[in-house]
Symmetry: C2
Subunit: 613 residues, 2 copies
């Protein structure tokens, strides 16, 4: 009995939480979706490109329950470029009316009803690079509302094999329109094709609809999960670190203030008001001379804003310190009570965190292997393609670990991430390779297979000195103690070794107070991982676990001890060797995709002077 009844197709939905099939379910298959041919499906997405094919003769009225008439590929037709539809369409109507097309007289009325046509829409739903061709007869929906790029549709139809397989092997022949989200084409910023990346930055809320930013987003998402997978597989615990902080390990950056008092006209005191501990004015003045020289040197080299900004900040802080010390000599009346900020949400002055380093260390010194990912902030007023005010960092800290352990972990992580992207995002990487950077897949492959070159800072200086003698005149000569600029480091990876390089054991002046002092008394156990064409993506170090050495370093650098008292407690009670690093996540995405501006890989970038959404 049941066999005699007509087969009732109910549309298949493979997406669990929306009434549609994700396109990747159909198209990310070895046969390109052929195995689904004949099935009734619901799909949704946004129109990427479209064309309208107008038939010479109107189709015979279709019976209510039959499929829409198939497009006869042999009839004479006009393909309309979507980006000019309204104009072209009206022009066309005039032309048709004037019988300029093929010499045949049309028996369709020109103005009402409209010319019967078929809309061919390439739609994408963000689940994969590929688009699906969707075919809609004009009898179902007015083509003008479907054709503009960016139009959103949800449609039900039957998947068919395309008559002449090309880019697509299947297409959906639509039977029912479930939703149309129109586009005001003249006002839609993505109506044009191939828009430059810097134009798209003004439309951070629209740009994921472009193929490039969609691919970047998928790669970014995969890399986030790869990060978690790597650390969870290696028995690391994830720790959420605070965004609102009072202290940081760096001291090299400008910070954003966080307050509930802004707009109330009250003055918020700055940390610079804090009194440093046990420093003489003489020591500080000597430091000023030394630091001024470094700034001058960096200004001459002109190659690295990052190092220069750091040096200028450092000098500025030392100058302020000197002023404070002078003031203190005049009046020692200030008590710590003065620092409490009345009326504010928190009683202290607070900032957006520059680094989760110190907080993460306290968890490593209790739980062993820990990691974190979160936004970190710098308010340095520079415009740069490698910096944004808000960047995500993956921070790692390992107890009972020395410098080499952290280096090995960083090495493994970079390889794991590279491999993951090739395994999980190959279609996106192929797109990236085609459109952005021809070497992107090759670069990841070579990272996976090579062993990272390890060079001490001292050896790096020697190598760079020789190299600058020979060919790279733009790289200034270096002597021990100088900060290596991003250009220097990239030169090592790009030109000298042509593979990832780890530079380690830096002069202590160039690194934060809590990096472990080496036995030579001059260098500290810090390292940087530099990727060819990627620059520095990881910075790490072994931390100072010896309380006395740590306190001496803090004095040398003029840090206010009371602010770090809680951090010193970790070294005072149950101290342990520990090492770690931080990965500039956004820079790794930049490296992976081959894009050149960090603002193009961050969903909603925040950078100096730019209006944000």
């Amino acid at each position: 009995m049941a066999a005699q009844q007509p087969t009732v197709f109910s549309p298949i939905t493979f997406s669990k939480y929306s009434n549609r099939v994700l396109l990747k379910t159909l198209l990310d298959t070895t046969d390109g979706g052929l195995s689904f041919v004949g099935q009734k499906l619901v799909v949704g997405g946004w129109v990427k490109s479209s064309k309208e094919v107008i038939r010479d003769a109107p189709p015979a009225p279709a019976p209510a329950d039959s499929l829409p008439p198939k497009l006869n590929k042999d009839v004479s037709c006009i393909e309309i470029i979507q980006s000019r539809i309204p104009i072209v369409r009206s022009l066309l109507k005039m032309l048709y009316g004037n019988n300029l097309h093929g010499g045949e007289k049309l028996d369709t009325p020109v103005h009402k009803p409209p010319l019967p046509s078929t809309a061919f829409l390439a739609i994408n739903d963000g689940s994969c690079v590929a688009s699906l061709q969707v075919v809609v007869e004009s009898s179902l929906h007015h083509p003008t509302h479907l054709l503009p790029t960016g139009t959103c549709i949800l449609v039900e139809g039957v998947l068919k094999q395309v008559p002449v397989p090309g880019k697509h092997v299947v297409r959906l022949e639509v039977e029912k329109i479930l939703h149309v989200g129109k586009v005001e084409q003249e006002k839609y910023p993505l109506s044009q094709k191939k828009l430059p990346m810097d134009f798209l930055r003004k439309f951070s809320y629209f740009r994921p609809r472009t193929t490039t930013v969609a691919s970047v987003t998928r790669i970014r998402s995969a890399l986030t999960f790869a990060n978690h997978t790597f650390f969870q597989n290696n028995s690391f615990l994830y720790v959420q670190l605070p965004t609102i902080t009072t202290t940081d390990s760096e001291g090299f950056s400008e910070k954003f203030h966080v307050t509930t008092l802004a707009g109330k006209g009250k003055r918020v005191e700055s940390t610079e008001d804090k009194e440093p501990d046990g420093l003489s004015l003489e020591t500080v003045k000597a430091a000023i001379t030394e630091k001024s020289n470094l700034v001058k040197e960096l200004e001459r080299s002109e190659s690295n804003r990052e190092a220069l900004v750091a040096a200028v900040q450092d000098l500025k802080k030392t100058n302020e310190l000197a002023l404070q010390l002078e003031a203190r000599e005049k009046s020692k009346s200030k008590s710590r009570k003065d620092k409490v900020i009345p009326g504010n949400f928190l009683p202290q002055e607070t900032y957006l965190t520059v680094s989760g380093q110190l907080h993460l260390e306290t968890y490593a010194c209790a739980l062993g292997n820990v990691y974190s990912c979160g936004p970190r902030f710098r308010a340095d007023k520079i415009e740069s393609a490698k910096h944004a005010a808000e960047m995500w960092m993956v921070e790692v800290e390992i107890a009972f670990a020395e410098l080499k352990d952290a280096m090995n972990c960083a090495d493994d992580l970079v390889k794991f991430l590279s491999k993951w992207v090739l395994e999980h995002c190959m279609d996106d990487m192929k797109f990236v390779q085609k459109r952005i950077d021809k070497t992107s897949i090759h670069r990841l492959e070579s990272i996976i297979s090579c062993s990272f070159e390890k060079v001490s800072y001292t050896a790096a200086i020697e190598i760079l000195e020789k190299a600058t003698d020979q060919k790279s005149q733009h790289l200034k000569k270096l002597k021990f103690g100088a900060a290596l600029t991003a250009d220097h480091l990239s030169y090592l990876a790009d030109t000298i070794f042509k593979k990832p390089v780890i530079v380690y054991n830096y002069p202590k002046e160039t690194k934060p107070f809590n990096v472990r002092l080496n036995d030579d008394g001059k260098t500290v156990a810090a390292f940087d991982v530099v990727l060819p064409k990627g620059g520095v993506v990881i910075s790490g170090s072994q931390k100072e676990e010896r309380l006395d050495v740590l306190m001496t370093r803090m004095k040398e650098m003029g840090l206010p001890r009371e602010q770090y008292e809680w951090y010193l407690e970790i070294q005072r009670h149950g101290t342990v060797k520990h090492s770690g690093f931080s990965l500039a996540f956004d820079r790794f995405v930049l490296f992976t995709t081959g894009l050149t501006d960090i603002k193009d890989v961050i969903p909603f970038p925040r950078s100096f002077g730019k209006v944000i959404n």
Copy 2:
């Protein structure tokens, strides 16, 4: 030949990035580590508890290459409680000298060398709940430096079966001390046992060394990974949303200002200066009357600070709006240019994000299924066990999805997370059950197996009205339009249904502007998921995709349109139905662990008026 040579044990290291075996590798096994007996291992960790056993007679000097002498369990011995070691040890020496112990004369010199003894240390490295017993002879290291709680040790030794298996079946007999990180016992805040949670909050940098906070951290870490796994398995893309923002969907909370101008004495303008669009003073004054009544009602009920604060804020905003409108009527000279803040890092006034909602929607309306996790901020000056200024939210948005789809996704997520914790953190959950909440495992199990009760707001009001008639006199009577307090919602889950409840279709006044208006014109498609003993952990909604309806809602609520212009663009071009929700991640951890204060599950909590590290 090889067989005749003595076996050379080289210490096994199973931890990839530190020179030691993670304790969970040994102890999280079905045999409790027996399969590793006889192996030479390096382990590290912090002393959780200890005792010293002093022998009557000094051991015969051990040959250099032999194992240390085993403790003879039969000899008369004195166990010393670690927390009073220094005093007890000196007392003991005096007692020994006075021959008060067992009547036997000691032939060991009392003061030098010290009495030979064996230290039994339970150490933990954070990788699992269980501790390992480590046995150190006093000939290897002075026990006084090993015994205090919190001491860090790295030791090499041979794993042995314990003579009388109890809590432990294996222990490490130490041959070499590789590191000792001492504790200044009098100053170490964790020297005492069983410290109350609120005491520990003052030491956020030390408390992961306690078993409770360590377990919470492991559960939290597992839940973070479970979240990512759930969404990645279901083809969701992860999107990092910005922390620094200008807009938010809520408007119900106080915000933190972000600025680089604080301390420079300049006035930062507040958003309240912005001019609302197209509102009459009359409308606003009517709204003030209505909102004042709501505040009065909530004040009477005293049950829910959250709702009250929201209502007060709302009223405050409306009042400010009225003042602005009055001012505007006097002078219409202000231009938009005035809002630009000269000298600031960003040219607009910026805040810490309250919700990533709006930004996430733009990605859903391009890529389909998206999610995010990150810190979100509220500066409401309230002290609460359920709120912190900085909380992590998991935000989800699904294109082509309606309210029911988002509810189903939320339901699946809660079940997935609950199951994951039981599968991956059973030892921690057993500890939690023993120490914190006897019902915690049962609660997770029942969530996995039950179907969530779905109740409309209107039905919930009716149910609560009947219930309040009968037994719960403390729950005030409700009528349509009233905000459901946390107490009301919990009553539904805890008492009425005794399982998770989803309440949906709220009065439009109680939800943000972008929640989709239902056909009745009164309610909106919002929902909350309430867990028994967990309260509201998820809030979600279908978003308004109809541009005209959205703009009307914004006008009704007096929102400044120019601030949301970018958001409206999404509905203007290629709009689509979309739905989502946000999970208060910290509250879910609170629910899982059975703890009562949110500050105990956040690594470094930030809350009103509290000094932070």
